[in-house]
């Protein structure tokens, strides 16, 4: 009964996933600051709704609808367009947002030069923000817009559509910590820097900030503007330095070169990544068996030839389904007991989509081993699977039987046996003539 129940639940979950646009659900909660006009973000929100997302809007200070109830998130994704909000309803705290991420809810967060609870949340994700009130400025290129409204060219990234036009940006930059879980999406132009001055006499404060060393100075193309973070549970968070990036105003604003700005496309791509539509992979199942067999044995013997197979799918947003995926070329398989004893490439099998297979020889060490596949690349879902298999030494009768080095010993043993047999046969069957004669002689005497 219990099994039936869990089967029904998993079926319902599967059925639900097939109908949605995102691989992790289509309900979205939008926390929108009252100072922001919803109409100014109609392109972004309208695009999401057109895609099949179910948007629920809420002011940050309203208590309902709740983000999570009894520790279970109510929404698959949360957008926090509250760059200037300092006080929230009690259910929105940095801790509760981290809790959402660990429950596989995705977050899209907009920051601003103002110090808010979200600023300290960003710090927990290894993003280092400048002091409050220091927006990103750039005097390059020459343009009629003020120095804090900056056209930023979009670099190549698997997350973004290739050849996206430069985007307008206005907001706060952040330095990136050395956490490998960060996924840089948009970098600042190399001429830009963070400063709070509004005229040329402010150059002195820039110098004194840089003299502090460390993270005292935010400048150059190593500074991030929009940065993603993928957790080990594969939920995703994106921190954008400014909410205007997603606005209709910037989406329609022409670039200094006269081209259309790439903001609408960029916002769509960022949302697709953070909502787990793109670059989402999973391991469907794994198999292992001895070469020339098909079923997994209960245990392997040392030096066995083992065949390991993994089946991997990627989420296809066009059809909202999982499709076999053979695009990974650098996956590795480890055969581990405390430390990996064997680490080899696990390449895709040509002609069989989604199948990755490798054959290797089990080490001549016995113990409980694990077959481990761990694949982490920036931007992609992390893949991880382990299978425990015991490896045993040879049984007493599995060793080679007829060694040439032992021939003298075989000869000796066989000699002894044959000798015993011959002696027994002769002794039993033979006649003792001399003794008999003697006995006869004694009798006759």
């Amino acid at each position: 009964m219990r099994f039936l129940g869990s089967a029904l639940v998993s079926f319902l979950v599967l059925a639900g996933k097939v109908l949605t646009k995102s691989s992790s659900g289509d309900s979205v909660l939008v926390l929108l600051d009252p100072s922001l006009s919803r109409a100014n973000y109609s392109i972004f929100f309208g695009g999401l709704e057109q895609q099949g997302y179910d948007l629920t809007f809420r002011a940050p200070k309203h208590a309902s609808p709740a983000i999570a109830e009894y520790g279970v998130p109510n929404y698959s994704h949360v957008i926090l367009f509250t760059p200037d909000t300092k006080s929230y309803a009690p259910d929105v705290t940095p801790q509760s947002l981290v809790g959402l991420l660990s429950e596989n809810t995705n977050l899209l967060i907009a920051l601003s030069p103002r110090q808010t609870p979200l600023t300290s949340l960003a710090t927990e994700f290894s993003l280092i923000l400048p002091p409050p009130g220091t927006p990103l400025l750039s005097h390059h290129p020459k343009r009629p817009e003020p120095a804090n409204v900056i056209p930023v060219s979009v670099s190549e990234s698997p997350i973004l559509t290739p050849d996206t036009n430069p985007v307008w940006f206005s907001g706060v930059p952040h330095a990136l910590g050395n956490s490998p879980y960060l996924v840089p999406i948009l970098r600042a132009p190399s001429e830009s820097f963070a400063a709070d001055s509004t005229d040329d006499s402010g150059s002195g404060t820039i110098l004194s900030a840089s003299d502090k060393g460390g993270e005292g100075f935010w400048a150059g193309s190593h500074i991030g503007l929009v940065t993603g973070f993928q957790t080990t549970k594969n939920s995703r968070a994106v921190f954008a330095g400014g909410v205007e990036l997603f606005s209709d105003e910037y989406a329609k604003k022409a670039l200094p070169s006269g081209q259309r700005s790439g903001n609408a496309q960029f916002a769509r791509d960022v949302a697709a990544w953070v909502f787990q539509e793109t670059l989402t992979l999973r391991i469907d199942r794994t198999e292992h068996h001895r070469v020339n067999e098909t079923a997994a044995p209960e245990m392997y013997t040392i030096n066995d030839q083992i065949v390991y197979t993994a089946y991997i799918s990627a989420y296809d947003r066009k059809t909202s389904s999982w499709k076999p995926y053979s695009g990974i070329t650098d996956m590795q398989l480890e055969f581990t007991m405390l430390d990996p004893h064997v680490r080899i490439a696990l390449p895709p099998v040509s002609g069989e989509p989604g199948k990755y297979e490798v054959q290797f020889r089990a080490p001549d060490r016995h113990g409980v081993f694990k077959l481990v596949v761990g694949w982490r690349r920036k931007g992609y879902s992390f893949l991880h699977t382990t299978t425990t298999v015991p490896v045993v030494p040879l049984r007493h009768d599995q060793y080679p039987r007829f060694l040439s080095a032992a021939w003298p010993y075989y000869a000796g043993a066989i000699s002894t046996s044959v000798g015993f047999f011959l002696f027994s046969a002769l002794w039993l069957a033979g006649d003792v003539k001399g003794e008999k004669k003697n006995l006869k002689g004694v009798k006759s005497e």
């Binding site: 005097h139 001429e191 150059g220």
Partner: protein, 277 residues
């Protein structure tokens, strides 16, 4: 909302006065001296990028002086942004170093490799492209490529502990124990022959004295001999392929007739030897 509007307005007011004039660089000069103040190089920089790269030793000091002026005339100005950019085009590493400019537009920058600034990016054996970025709220921005600079290779910063798992890891091959070494078969054959050689002596001597087995096929003796032979065959079969359990079973079954056959056979030979027949 109100503070946001005023913030933007203040930008706009400034923006109205922007781009009045251009900034230019006057008398840029680069000097490299060693730690004991010996001047190794002193040169004025051309208006385009210096063709040959500069090289800076581990304890050398690079000095860069210039004046920022308006429209290329004598009047010096202090721009908002005077940054030196060090850029490694291959690794993409970049360092930005602000330069102090006096209100008269004069600037002096010193790079002491004995104490490199934190803004200097991690370096390799490739040169860093050094450029000067000028920006201002009232003047047009400007960017000058100055020169390529070789600096000593820096030590690499410690990566995050999880960083390695984001890259292809080096393959690991298990080192198997070497296969068991066997002596040449000739040696084994020689020694096996040596072990078997007593048979030759035995058979030779038997041939001399002659053998007589009158009771071999006697019905009281033959079963016991045959059963002893069967035991020998069983042991050979054990060696070749049987398991211990099977051997014990078959041996147990064989033992029962062997006991009776042996008793009969031994009693019979006893009688013969005692001369009762």
């Amino acid at each position: 909302m109100i503070p946001r509007i005023t913030f933007h307005l203040s930008w706009l007011v400034i923006a109205a006065g922007v781009h009045a004039a251009t900034l230019s660089l006057q008398s840029p000069r680069v000097t490299i001296s060693s730690s004991d103040a010996t001047q190794l190089l002193s040169d004025t920089l051309p208006s385009i990028k210096r063709p040959e790269p500069l090289t800076l030793g581990a304890s050398d000091i690079l000095k860069l002086t210039f004046q920022v002026t308006e429209n290329g005339e004598g009047k010096g100005v202090q721009p908002h942004q005077t940054f030196l950019r060090f850029y490694d085009s291959v690794s993409g590493e970049e360092g930005i170093q602000p330069v102090r400019v006096t209100p008269g537009g004069k600037a002096k920058f010193e790079l002491n490799m004995a104490r490199p600034p934190a803004s200097l990016p991690p370096t390799t054996d490739r040169p860093l492209a050094v450029s000067l970025i000028l920006g201002s709220f009232v003047h047009d921005p400007a960017k000058y490529d100055l020169f390529d600079l070789y600096v000593p290779t820096s030590s690499t910063p410690a990566p995050h502990p999880d960083e390695a798992s984001f890259h292809v890891l080096p393959p690991i091959v298990h080192t198997f124990r070497p296969e068991q070494k066997l002596p040449p078969k000739v040696v084994s054959i020689v020694f096996a022959a040596l072990v078997l050689s007593p048979w030759a002596i035995l058979l030779g001597l038997w041939g001399k004295i002659g053998l007589s087995v009158p009771h071999l096929v006697s019905p009281r003796i033959l079963p016991f001999t045959a059963l002893l032979g069967a035991f020998e065959v069983l042991l050979v079969r054990y060696w070749v392929g049987l398991k211990l359990g099977q051997v014990l079973l078959y041996g147990g079954i064989l033992a029962i007739p062997t006991i009776f056959a042996g008793k009969t056979a031994l009693a019979t030979t006893g009688e013969w030897r005692a001369g009762k027949h």
